[in-house]
């Protein structure tokens, strides 16, 4: 057993030579006692420093993953320093308007921003008793979201999309248009890109620029050609800044994370290299817990003015919603916006599938005093009617439209109006909640009044008859 027990004296000790390098993992033996999840610095022959984190520590060997990849490292010449601390990031409000890599180092050519406070990137679990239940309606200006799957401040609402579908456009549109009604609050956008293409990142930057909000955006980019392992720390770095802005600086923060699928792929990669026992489709058994560590960092806190609303984007592999990534995400997040390729094919933007999409926090954020008193029943009726439309369409594809009853024809008409007028809108169209709800009533008029089971008589008189 080593003589020195004080970690502070041991921290910073440098070891020359690694025992084994496997993918992004580096194995170092005969070290002092190294703490689990300590930050390490790997210095290669050229003196370039790469950061990493300890994944496993034992009396014989320390296993660490190197975020910037292990390309070019050699066993004898690599020097490893253990910091004695978990990875932290120095955060401040000055980081808004800047661009960083996944580790929080500036990549826009500017100097490192002055940090106010050093925070562990892994964060800590929020005490459930400190949380405040979110109920403030965010108007996104997009009917299918505001009307049917309302976004609430402090919610985590992912977009389940597919390759080639306009999820980036929708996320950018939400970031541009999202407002709390009646208040002018300080807001910020934290954008984390994991393994996305350069042009996607450019698209977002341009979109923020055009709407003049770029100085309120902090970007953390770990793009497709960056080491895949860096994607594992990117969202954590970004969320650490978001937490600082929300709970220390009282800002309302919208976090956009894209693409969660790439993040999960990196996690699987590491897990496989470490020889862990896989669960479904080769993903590690702790994928759920790991995703929860990210998603659960959003929310509102009692006694704090700020909030974190998160909008993770994930592309469903092969458009399969039962794939482990969307499936586990759906179990953690508070609803989901699901894209449908068939609607996109018919030119409907945003191609949000009516039935599988859901906002769990909607029930407490809509209605009288928040949106409008008819909103809950109207949304419920639209869901019910649209669900029946799907049945009628299935039936029509078997027996032919001519054989349908007159009522079923009404429903087909409603379905068409719903998709083309209510759901569909321009990429720069910003509808108020009143416009959205009125549009909902307009499309409902394709149906006879007896079919509106979920709406009260007063509402029918006031809105349907108009």
């Amino acid at each position: 057993m080593p003589e020195i027990r004080d970690r502070r004296l041991l921290a910073g000790r440098e070891y020359i030579g690694a025992d084994k390098i496997d993918g992004p993992l580096i194995f170092v033996s005969k070290t002092h006692p190294v703490g689990y999840r300590e930050l390490i610095e790997c210095v290669d022959k050229q003196g370039h420093v790469r950061l990493g984190i300890v994944l496993e520590s034992s009396t014989s060997v320390v296993v660490a993953q190197v975020f910037e990849g292990t390309t070019g490292l050699t066993l004898p010449d690599t020097r490893v320093r253990f910091s004695g601390e978990p990875p932290t990031i120095s955060v401040s409000k000055e980081m808004l308007g800047r661009m960083f890599n996944g580790l929080g180092l500036p990549i826009d050519g500017g100097p490192p921003p002055r940090g106010d406070i050093d925070l562990d990137v892994n964060g800590m679990a929020i005490n459930p008793t400190s949380r405040q239940y979110p109920r403030d309606f965010i108007q996104t200006g997009i009917s299918v979201i505001d009307g049917m799957n309302t976004l609430i401040r402090g919610q985590k609402l992912p977009i389940f999309s597919g390759n080639g579908l306009p999820h980036n456009e929708l996320a950018a549109q939400i970031a541009r248009q999202a407002r709390i009604r009646g208040t002018a609050t300080e807001f910020a956008v934290v954008f984390a890109a994991m393994g996305v293409k350069h042009d996607v990142a450019q698209f977002f930057i341009r979109s923020f620029e055009e709407s003049g909000v770029l100085e309120n955006v902090a970007l953390f980019l770990s793009l497709a050609d960056d080491p895949s392992i860096e994607r594992l720390i990117t969202p954590r770095t970004a969320l650490t800044l978001a937490e600082h802005l929300a709970f220390n600086e009282d800002m309302h923060v919208l976090v956009i994370m894209t693409d969660m699928t790439n993040y999960c792929e990196s996690l699987r990669e590491i897990s496989t290299i470490r020889g862990e026992i896989p669960s479904r489709k080769g993903y590690p058994g702790y994928l759920y817990s790991d995703l929860a560590e990210l998603y659960e960092r959003s929310g509102m806190i009692k006694g704090h003015k700020g909030s974190i609303t998160s909008l993770p984007i994930l592309t469903m592999p092969n458009d399969d919603i039962s794939h482990p990534i969307p499936d586990l995400s759906g179990y953690i997040t508070e609803g989901q916006i699901v894209f449908e390729r068939e609607m996109d094919g018919r030119g409907i933007y945003p191609p949000v599938a009516g039935l599988p999409s859901l906002s769990r926090l909607m029930k407490d954020g809509i209605g009288e005093g928040m949106t409008r008193e008819d909103h809950p029943h109207l949304a419920s009726q639209l869901f019910a009617a649209y669900s029946y439309v799907k049945d009628v369409r299935n039936l029509a594809s078997v027996i032919g439209e001519e054989e349908l009853t007159p009522l079923d024809h009404n429903y087909l008409e409603f379905g068409k109006a719903f998709e083309q007028k209510f759901v569909s809108q321009r990429k720069d169209e910003n509808r108020t909640i009143e416009q959205t709800l009125d549009m909902g009533w307009e499309v409902l008029r394709s149906l006879p009044v007896e079919e509106l089971h979920r709406i009260t008589e007063e509402e029918i008189e006031k809105y349907y008859g108009a």
Binding site: G35, Y36, S130, G154, P284, G299, S322, D327, S380
Partner: protein
């Protein structure tokens, strides 16, 4: 910390820690790890090494750090002060933690589970020289307006009471008396005692389960009832309403006490319960629902090993109140997250996996858990019960996965949530085709006594119609509804009516959120009557349109919203009007 050092750390891998140089340690012993005193439990023992699972984040823990043994198993404190409290998975009070460590849960916080300073008014019911055995009642504490907390002799202790304090105010640590055990030892008694969470609390015997747990949810009570002391599983993909159903049952069921375990679920759901329950009033007692609720929250981002323990923490508390003669309902949301925690820990210990990476002992653990439910005669002689309602979150909504399948072997009531119903916003989305209840025959006598003898016949009739509807729908899908004769279309019509007017229940409507059994029975009877009379009349040549146009039809659709639970006379009126309209129609087609 004056615990002894039992070894030093050899290897750290997330929440699993290998310890070397073990001197004396016991299996499942409670341990503290490192200088920060992180709570852990010893789960594997070899000659000179051991494996410990740590219930807190192990960042910074390094080899050679000391591991301390507490010389007792992971236990919960049982005594006054639990009700209305929110705990984490190892019974640390989260409100008290917030007071010490701000908005986040910091590591190594040591806060006692029960408030040490609060004084409780204790009224003894025993006197010195009484012979007492484990489970006997020493006295009572009025813990909340509705729950009288009975102070018990810890199970396993027995002897002659040496002394007992007079009526007065005591903290949970003040001695309230002493017992002279049969082997001559003196045992002090307190308002609280400890119990290891992995050990089932003893009872005298199991009792038959013939009283339903009335939930106020029509599809459950009328179609798939659960008995007090029964076991239920609610499986469903995400977004099908598992949590909604659990919360509705927790709010309205007629148990004396609810233990709500949020196991690996969302933080905001716990916050929702915390903000909503204190405001809700129990219709039976007029008191706030929080006065009968204990919350255990181990949200998905809290340490995974504590998630594994949370289920046992919850069930042990439930057993403790059962031993006082109460009927307790345990909501476990979700047992899949608990099984996943088992899987994760098993993987980190490099055990050989069985199906989908789950350890081979998964079915044993599930069985052990559900077997702790039951309707019992307690050691004190009173009847008490623990009902377990466990949610299951099958990946991809596929019920063939291991957790759902193994759970099905050990439960007797199955509320299957259906994605299509949820998509159509038909809540509760409990499928009437895939669900079942083995308690139906056990509780039928109770129903007949409470709600009249027609209930069994009405229920069978409606269930039969729902089965017929499925076959008819298959025909409709091929040829359209017009091809069916009116007699068969009437089956579809009645089923649609039953779904809209009875099965769907609005959890946010003041009246509809909960229905008393008498209302449920009358509603079924009205719909069954509409079917019986209507099908006769159709045979005589009436048309479907005529039957749908009877005025009372709209009243039947709205009866769930319009007839309050405390005045059911409106339902009798609807029934009388229905009979009259049917008489008239019959006369037309005589």
């Amino acid at each position: 910390m004056n615990d002894r050092i039992i070894g030093r750390i050899k290897r750290v891998n997330g929440p699993v820690i290998e310890v070397m140089g073990i001197t004396d340690a016991a299996m499942f012993e409670l341990v503290r790890v490192g200088e920060e005193n992180l709570v852990g439990e010893l789960i594997k023992l070899e000659t000179d090494s051991a494996v410990v699972q740590v219930y807190e984040d192990t960042t910074g823990i390094a080899p050679y750090d000391p591991v301390y043994g507490a010389a007792m198993q992971l236990s919960v404190e049982l005594g006054p002060g639990m009700i209305g409290t929110i705990y984490d998975g190892i019974q640390r009070p989260l409100e008290a933690i917030r007071a010490t460590s701000d908005i986040y849960i910091k590591r190594g916080v040591a806060v006692p589970s029960l408030d040490r300073s609060k004084r409780w008014h204790f009224v003894p019911v025993v006197k010195p020289q009484d012979r007492l055995s484990g489970g006997a009642i020493l006295g009572t504490v009025q813990e909340t307006q509705r729950i009288v907390h009975k102070i018990l002799v810890p199970p396993g202790d027995a002897g002659v009471l040496e002394s007992i304090v007079p009526e007065g105010d005591y903290t949970v640590e003040d001695p309230i008396g002493a017992l002279k055990t049969d082997d001559g030892q003196r045992k002090e008694l307190f308002l609280m005692h400890r119990w290891p969470i992995r050990l089932q609390r003893p009872t005298r015997k199991r009792l038959p389960m013939d009283i339903p747990l009335v939930t106020g949810q029509r599809v459950i009570d009328a179609l798939f009832p659960v008995a007090k002391g029964g076991t239920v599983s609610i499986p469903g993909g995400f977004g099908t309403g598992k949590t909604m159903t659990q919360q509705a049952v927790a709010k309205w069921c007629d148990a004396d006490l609810i233990v709500y375990i949020g196991c690996g679920e969302r933080g905001n759901e716990i916050t929702d319960v915390l903000t909503e329950f204190p405001k809700l009033i129990d219709p039976r007692t007029g008191r706030s629902l929080m006065e009968r609720t204990i919350l255990i929250a181990n949200t998905s981002n809290m340490p995974v090993s504590a998630r594994e323990a949370s289920i046992y923490t919850g069930i042990t508390m439930a057993e403790y109140f059962r031993d006082q003669g109460y009927h307790v309902a345990v909501m476990a949301d979700s047992t899949s997250r608990w099984a996943e925690a088992l899987r994760e820990l098993s993987g980190r210990m490099e055990e050989m996996p069985a199906e989908e990476g789950f350890p081979a002992y998964l079915p044993t653990r599930i069985a052990e858990f559900y077997e702790r439910a039951g309707s019992m005669e307690t050691l004190g002689g009173a009847p008490g019960s623990v009902t377990i309602i466990g949610a299951v979150s099958p990946p991809g909504g596929d019920f063939s996965e291991p957790v759902t399948q193994h759970t099905k072997r050990f439960i007797r009531c199955f509320w299957a949530l259906d994605r299509h119903l949820a998509n159509a916003r038909h809540y509760p989305a409990i499928s009437w085709l895939d669900s079942y209840s083995e308690y139906l025959n056990d509780v039928a006598p109770w129903w007949e006594q409470r709600a009249g003898s027609e209930w069994v016949a009405d229920r069978i009739e409606i269930m039969d119609l729902l089965q017929r509807e499925v076959r008819l729908q298959q025909v409709v899908k091929l040829v359209g509804p017009d091809a069916l004769p009116d007699t068969q279309r009437f089956v579809l019509e009645v089923c649609t009516l039953f779904k809209n007017a009875f099965l769907q229940q609005n959890a946010y409507d003041k009246i509809d959120a909960f229905s008393v059994v008498e209302k449920q029975a009358k509603m079924i009877h009205i719909i069954a009557t509409y079917w019986r009379r209507g099908s006769e009349i159709i045979k005589r040549g009436a048309t479907l349109i005529e039957l749908r146009k009877v005025k009372v039809y709209q009243d039947i659709i709205k009866m769930k919203f319009s007839i309050p639970n405390d005045d059911l006379s409106g339902l009798d009126k609807i029934e009388a009007r229905l009979e009259r309209s049917m008489d008239q129609l019959e006369a037309l087609h005589a």
